[in-house]
């Protein structure tokens, strides 16, 4: 599969390259590689917004990146696996393109930022590398310029301190899909370098690489915790970046974690990375391709397609194990929802701690259910005499009160209705924006929630309702009072004997 990958790009297989610890060697290799690639139009250097070209470029970048990534072989196999699976998944290898762009512009420090700026919103990519570049590098960096730079990479590479960082970052990225990491924030400010360095997960070991990495990482992960999760369902919270990429391979997330780890732990991280990568590869390798394929479909989508990956970043100094990260994400999710519940449940503000709050919530739900039961008991005792009123009231209510909620399921309505009600329901379901009958205006005006109106055609045939318009007009709001008035309308319709009967019963 590795060979497959490189057949497209004609880059030498990555196995030649040494592990990331030797950044200079990596750069050298990359530099060597650089003149090799064909300068066909499909190459990434071309600023083309064409999706296919991008894909091709991505594939090229994939190979470039994989070669660049002086990662151990298992990760390389993952690249090929992921890339193979992702294929030219729309705009994949954005990072790679970026990297190459950067590398090409090594000599021009001022323009290096532009390159990144140009390659802004990286949409999701299915392949292992990066996200697709939605916008080409700025035209100011002309092809020729980049081409030119390309040819003399080595000296520039070594000269650019940022390059090492970028290369390192890309090396880490290269092994996995960038899924969302390189989202819209790709316009890299080289200035941002230092701030996020602490947040970077595992990264190639050398400090130079770190410097390279942080600018790339900074925009992509603005200040956030951010790691890539491979689960199809959003497991953690998506960060500021609209995570459009559909293909975060878990291994990639691990690289993100690894980077961060590295920033905190220096050389240790490289070893961890190696070990962890292998572990992750074992775990996620089979899943990677599937998701790559699935993600391919999402490449062209705008950011945040429904099937989103939540990218979480490991915090500095915290474990970057995939499980612990998932755990943390999950805990955060739960905590956030607890806050939501806290607002709902009255009196929960004073309670601190998850356990107590959950107890409160459970008590509240139980109390609500008990209330429903109690009220239903009350209604049953009342209803047998009053339900008749309800029918009339229902009819008028039915007609007058339109479904302002689009969630109203008409099928449910219809299934419940008898033939008698069916007509009303049909009327009800016809949400015409026609004027309501003036009799209805009394009821309608108080009802703030009325948005759509269904014609109260049948309203006019209820002569008794005219009596109640006066009483109804008192009510300013469709609230409890209104409801009572509606009910009262039905009540008043009946002769007295029923009320006496009612009294007896109550």
């Amino acid at each position: 599969m590795e060979n497959e990958l490189f057949m497209n790009t004609e880059f030498p297989p990555p196995s030649e390259f040494e592990p990331p610890s030797s950044s200079s060697a990596m750069m050298l290799n990359w530099a060597l590689m650089d003149p090799n690639p064909q300068q066909d139009s499909s190459f990434l250097w071309e600023k083309s917004t064409d999706q296919q070209q991008q894909q091709q470029q991505q594939s090229i970048f994939d190979s470039a990146l994989s070669s660049l990534v002086s990662s151990p072989t298992p990760s390389n196999s993952n690249f090929s696996g992921g890339c193979g699976g992702g294929g030219g998944g729309g705009g994949d290898g954005f990072i790679i393109r970026e990297l190459i762009g950067k590398l090409g512009n090594i000599g021009n420090h001022n323009s290096s930022g532009e390159i990144y700026g140009g390659t802004t919103p990286m949409s999701r990519s299915a392949s292992c590398y990066a996200t697709p570049m939605s916008s080409p590098p700025p035209p100011s960096n002309s092809n020729s310029h980049m081409m030119m730079n390309r040819t003399t990479p080595l000296t520039e590479f070594s000269a650019d301190p940022g390059f090492a960082e970028r290369a390192a970052r890309f090396s880490c990225f290269g092994s996995r899909s960038f899924n969302g990491r390189t989202n819209s924030n790709l316009p890299v400010n080289n200035n941002n370098v230092v701030n996020n360095s602490g947040k970077l997960t595992r990264v190639s070991s050398t400090p130079a690489l770190k410097a390279l990495v942080s600018p790339e990482v900074a925009p992509m992960i603005p200040g956030g915790e951010f790691s890539r999760k491979r689960k199809a369902l959003p497991k953690g919270k998506s960060k500021e970046n609209p995570i459009s990429t559909a293909s975060p391979s878990p291994s990639f997330s691990k690289t993100a974690e690894k980077k961060e780890d590295w920033s905190g732990k220096g050389s240790k991280s490289s070893e961890e990375k190696g070990g962890k990568r292998r572990r992750e590869d074992e775990e996620d390798d089979d899943v990677e391709e599937e998701e790559g394929e699935g993600n391919k479909n999402n490449n062209t989508k705008p950011p945040e397609p429904p099937k989103d990956y939540i990218h979480v970043r490991a915090r500095r100094g915290q474990a970057t194990d995939s499980h612990s990260l998932a755990e943390r994400v999950r805990r955060e999710k739960i905590g956030e929802r607890m806050k939501l519940l806290q607002d709902l449940v009255p009196g929960c503000n004073k309670v601190t701690g998850k356990a107590l709050m959950l107890d409160e919530i459970i008590n509240y739900v139980q109390s609500l259910q008990r209330q429903v039961e109690f009220l239903s008991m009350k209604l049953s005792s009342v209803n047998d005499t009053r339900l008749e009123f309800n029918v009339d009231a229902l009819v008028s209510k039915d007609v007058m009160i339109p479904s302002s909620n689009n969630r109203l399921h008409e099928e449910g309505l219809q299934s419940k209705s008898s033939s008698h009600h069916h007509q009303q329901l049909n009327i009800y379901n016809n949400n015409n924006n026609s004027q309501l009958h003036p009799n209805n205006m009394m009821l309608q005006s108080p009802m703030n929630s009325l948005e759509t109106s269904s014609l109260a055609r049948s309203f006019t045939h209820l002569p008794t309702l005219n009596q109640f318009t006066d009483s109804i007009s008192q009510y300013q709001m469709f609230s409890e009072e209104d409801l009572q008035s509606i009910v009262g309308m039905g009540v008043a319709q009946n002769p007295n004997h029923e009320s006496q009967h009612m009294k007896l019963e109550l």
């Binding site: 929802r337 239903s376 009160i401 302002s404 409801l483 109550l506």
Partner: protein, 160 residues
């Protein structure tokens, strides 16, 4: 953290939607002539309670919510005449067991409470804790709305 709230949608429709649904269900019940004999008080109560829940589930969005879906399914199982539940052609199977097994290891305090919550919220058995809490929030909102409607009704129907 605040931005994530936007993704959690716990809107419930207005009170009138609940009211309409509930009144319709009540009128349906009335048509069945259940309220004639005092012996069947319990039966009546149960019927009304079930009607209340079903109407609440419908008002809250039918099958768009997990809990409402579970509620309706539960009701449809019992009595197909009253509640018609659209059959799903493809049964959605969740890896409940795997999820639950996994979640048991996490924050046992939370998980114990979540277990109790699962018993309360319809359809909670198949949800993970975070999803469960989302559903609980929506469920609480709908329940409180339903309680308000029923309270109004009772107040309106009680002798003045």
């Amino acid at each position: 953290m605040a931005s994530a709230d936007k993704t959690i949608n716990t809107d419930v429709p207005e009170k009138d939607v609940f009211a309409i649904h509930f009144l319709q269900s009540l009128s349906n019940l009335r048509i069945q002539n259940l309220f004639n004999s005092p012996d069947t008080t319990n039966y009546r109560v149960r019927k009304i309670k079930k009607a209340a829940y079903v109407s609440m589930a419908r008002a809250a969005g039918g099958t768009s919510r997990l809990w409402s879906r579970a509620l309706l399914r539960r009701a449809a199982k019992g009595n197909n005449k009253i509640v018609r539940f659209p059959r799903r052609k493809r049964k959605v199977t969740w890896k409940i067991s795997s999820k639950r097994r996994r979640s048991d290891q996490r924050a046992p305090v939370v998980e114990d409470a979540a277990e109790r919550l699962r018993n309360l919220v319809p359809g909670g058995g198949g949800m993970e804790t975070s999803k469960l809490m989302e559903e609980t929030a929506h469920y609480i909102k709908c329940l409180s709305m339903q309680v308000k409607v029923m309270q109004c009704l009772v107040d309106g129907l009680s002798p003045k």
